[in-house]
């Protein structure tokens, strides 16, 4: 049985926490509204701040199936909504001919039957599920092109899909829709207006520490504190790609695997590739700049012990 949707904003924070997701209040508010009013949640933000994770955690904690539509350029109705199983249809026609069926209407209704329909994520999300309405994750919407966005507009406002051969299919129960975008291009306002919008920001020091505690339990407290401090400093720099939360988790995990208890310049240099994904950024930081930041972080921690 699916759990009920949270009844308040505090309950939403609690729910996400049960799924090991440390959310700030702004996100919980928006999510609560989206759940309560049955409207999509549109999450924008830099890569690696935990946008996709929201949907996954939500599906897990609410006990709903997660249906994921990964967007890419050229995504069309055939791969997003439905497709007919052509080879089976052909065989069906052949069989009908062999059996001597000549009534064309009958044949038509036969081969455009639901048996031959391949359901893709969007259609799948509209189907009734025993576990309750599914969580539909439309990931990286910015990767598709505008025509698909326009199509999505129709699906998201009425939660129905029209298949010419079958008719209109309406959602039994409105699915929980989470849309994410990395902002590699602007999504049209019309689509955003139908959703609750949220910009997922990098977490502050305190929240990122909490996240590490949950997500990278292997790293000691001192190490986590240094990792977070270092990453937070990096985000202040003008880098091509600032490290996200995913990177700090990876880094903390990697460091604890290496049995590091304390950050030192050499370890930082050796593992910088976990944190930064562009050669320019790595080159710039390697050596003196990383050491400088590390010194600053350590003196900050010394000045302001945990608490």
């Amino acid at each position: 049985m699916p759990s009920a949707k949270p009844a308040s904003i505090d309950a939403t924070i609690e729910l996400l926490k049960n799924g090991d997701y440390i959310a700030d209040r702004s996100l919980a508010t928006v999510l609560y509204l989206a759940l309560k009013l049955g409207r999509p949640l549109f999450c924008e933000g830099e890569a690696g701040v935990g946008k996709t994770e929201i949907a996954k955690v939500l599906a897990a904690t609410l006990g709903r199936p997660l249906i994921r539509l990964q967007c890419y350029e050229g995504l069309d109705v055939n791969s997003a909504v439905y497709e007919w199983n052509y080879s089976r249809q052909m065989i069906e026609i052949r069989l009908a001919e062999a059996q001597g069926v000549h009534n064309r209407d009958e044949l038509a209704s036969d081969i455009f039957d639901e048996r031959f329909l391949i359901r893709r994520p969007l259609l799948e999300a509209l189907q009734p599920h025993t576990e309750g309405a599914p969580v539909l994750l439309i990931d990286e919407l910015d990767r598709t092109d505008e025509p698909f966005e326009a199509y999505l507009l129709e699906v998201l406002s009425d939660f129905q899909v029209t298949i010419p051969e079958l008719g209109t299919i309406r959602a039994a129960e409105t699915p929980i829709v989470i849309i994410t975008s990395n902002r590699t291009r602007e999504i049209h306002d019309a689509l955003k207006r139908r959703c609750f919008y949220h910009w997922v920001d990098y977490p502050d020091l305190k929240r990122e520490l909490e996240i590490l505690k949950v997500k990278a339990p292997g790293a000691g407290e001192r190490l986590s504190r240094q990792v977070v401090g270092f990453v937070q400093e990096l985000r202040k720099l003008d880098l091509f790609k600032s490290p996200g939360v995913a990177e700090s988790i990876d880094w903390a995990t990697a460091l604890s695997e290496l049995n590091a208890l304390d950050l030192d310049p050499k370890t930082v240099n050796d593992t910088l590739g976990v944190l930064l994904k562009y050669q320019d950024d790595i080159q710039r930081l390697q050596g003196s700049e990383a050491a400088e930041i590390l010194r600053k972080v350590k003196s900050d921690i010394a000045a302001q012990p945990l608490g």
Partner: protein
């Protein structure tokens, strides 16, 4: 800070559905609209609904509830934040300010409008006057007049923007507004029906098979084509001052002619003027754009501004095979510091970089300056852009097949590589 101001006309949920809260939200929405956010009635309704759902116990929740409805883009956050804090701390204050402002906007705005209008009207009238006497003098010879215009245009075609008189500039601007980019298309990953396409369209074939003739032929499909996004980076520094106006008009004409055009200006800093240039009316568009740009006719820091573009914008506008038009004379104030690296990155992340350089009009042009040397190895095409003819030539250049790269360009590039 936790509790909301719920006395003295402040929002209160106690009045049932609608009531004061709704009124306040409507007023707040109006404030946002005045501040430049796009807020429609649909959003207001949704905001009221959302606030009712979220409740009003905490100021923070209320903030994020309204935020989720009214804010659509990241850059709207600051405006929202300021408006929220001013409005909901003391709604009266803002209302009063609006009351004070509104009449001053609506009433005295009238004469201002008239002023604006009259200037343009005057221009129009004067233009009429200028032509009228001519026609009086030679009323029947309309054709002569026409040929004159054509040859006039011909002269205009070759004349350098820099040497034009004001009147000629006006004419050139008109010609620019008539420029249409042909649609050099790129293959997309979508398909459409085609008689002799490379792929079988099973769906269409099967539907066809249901006709009385049965499965007689396979339907085909081919990739759909559409024009790639176009990104224009225009130098507006002092050395380009004479050309800037032309290029702004040029960017405006292109922006309004097709979709997926992104315009940026740069001098000492980078400004994205895309939204401003989308206004149909060229005067309004340019006015909005110039209000946004702060570094007119100053120095040039090409390396620095390209760095900003690469970091902040390239990932957002250079998708799907974008073509970059870089309009600059390549004279960099900072001795081309970091320019080569940034150009390389720009080149690698776009499908084609076309450099338009007004200096190229001189036959004896050689890439001597630091900036030119740094940039030249990383462009696919190098073209002059100083008169109408070269602008028209540019249009042809956007079609890859029609125009291979300039011979001189490859020569220079090999030379620079040797150095």
């Amino acid at each position: 800070m936790d509790a909301l101001p719920d006395q003295a006309g402040a929002p209160s949920g106690g009045e049932g559905r609608g009531g004061k809260l709704a009124t306040n939200i409507v007023h707040f929405a109006r404030t946002l609209r005045t501040a430049g956010l796009r807020v429609g009635p649909g959003q207001i309704l949704r905001a009221i609904e959302a606030v009712e759902a979220a409740g009003l116990r905490k100021r923070d929740d209320f903030y994020w509830t309204l935020h989720s409805v009214f804010v659509n883009r990241r850059d709207q956050r600051e405006i929202f934040d300021q408006a929220f804090h001013v409005y909901w701390r003391n709604p009266r204050l803002l209302e009063k300010m609006m009351e004070m402002l509104l009449p001053s906007i609506s009433v005295p705005a009238d004469p201002e409008d008239k002023k604006q209008l009259s200037r343009r009207l005057q221009d129009a009238l004067q233009a009429g006057k200028g032509e009228a006497p001519k026609e009086e003098g030679e009323p029947p010879e309309v054709e002569v007049e026409a040929t004159f215009t054509v040859s006039d245009r011909e002269v205009l075609q070759h004349k350098d923007f820099e040497q034009m008189t004001q009147e000629e500039i006006d004419q050139a601007l008109k010609a620019i507004s008539r420029l249409r980019l042909p649609v050099p298309e790129r293959r997309t990953r979508r398909y459409r029906a085609a008689r002799r396409g490379p792929r079988v369209d099973f769906r269409a074939s099967l539907r066809r098979a249901l006709r009385p003739e049965g499965l007689t032929e396979l339907r085909k499909r081919e990739p759909r084509r559409r024009p790639p996004p176009l990104v224009i980076l225009c130098d507006i520094s002092g050395s380009m001052a004479r050309y800037t106006r032309m290029f702004l008009h040029f960017m405006h004409a292109i922006t309004n002619d097709r979709d997926r055009v992104y315009c940026f200006t740069f001098g000492t800093r980078l400004s994205n003027v895309t939204r401003a240039l989308r206004y149909r009316d060229v005067d309004i568009a340019l006015e909005k754009a110039s209000a946004q740009v702060e570094d007119w006719s100053g120095g040039t820091r090409i390396g620095q501004t390209l760095h900003e573009f690469n970091n902040k914008w390239s990932r957002r506008v250079l998708g799907q095979g974008a073509v970059v038009l870089l309009i600059t004379d390549g004279l960099d104030r900072e001795g081309a510091a970091g320019l080569a690296e940034q150009m390389e990155r720009l080149h690698k992340s776009s499908s084609r970089v076309i450099w338009l350089n007004p200096l190229l009009r001189y036959g004896a042009y050689e890439p001597k300056s630091q900036g030119n040397k740094a940039m030249l190895p990383h462009v696919d095409e190098f073209r002059p852009v100083h008169n109408l003819e070269s602008l028209a030539g540019l249009i042809a250049a956007l079609d890859v097949k029609m125009h291979p790269a300039d011979r001189r360009l490859t020569d220079w590039q090999t030379e620079l590589r040797k150095e």
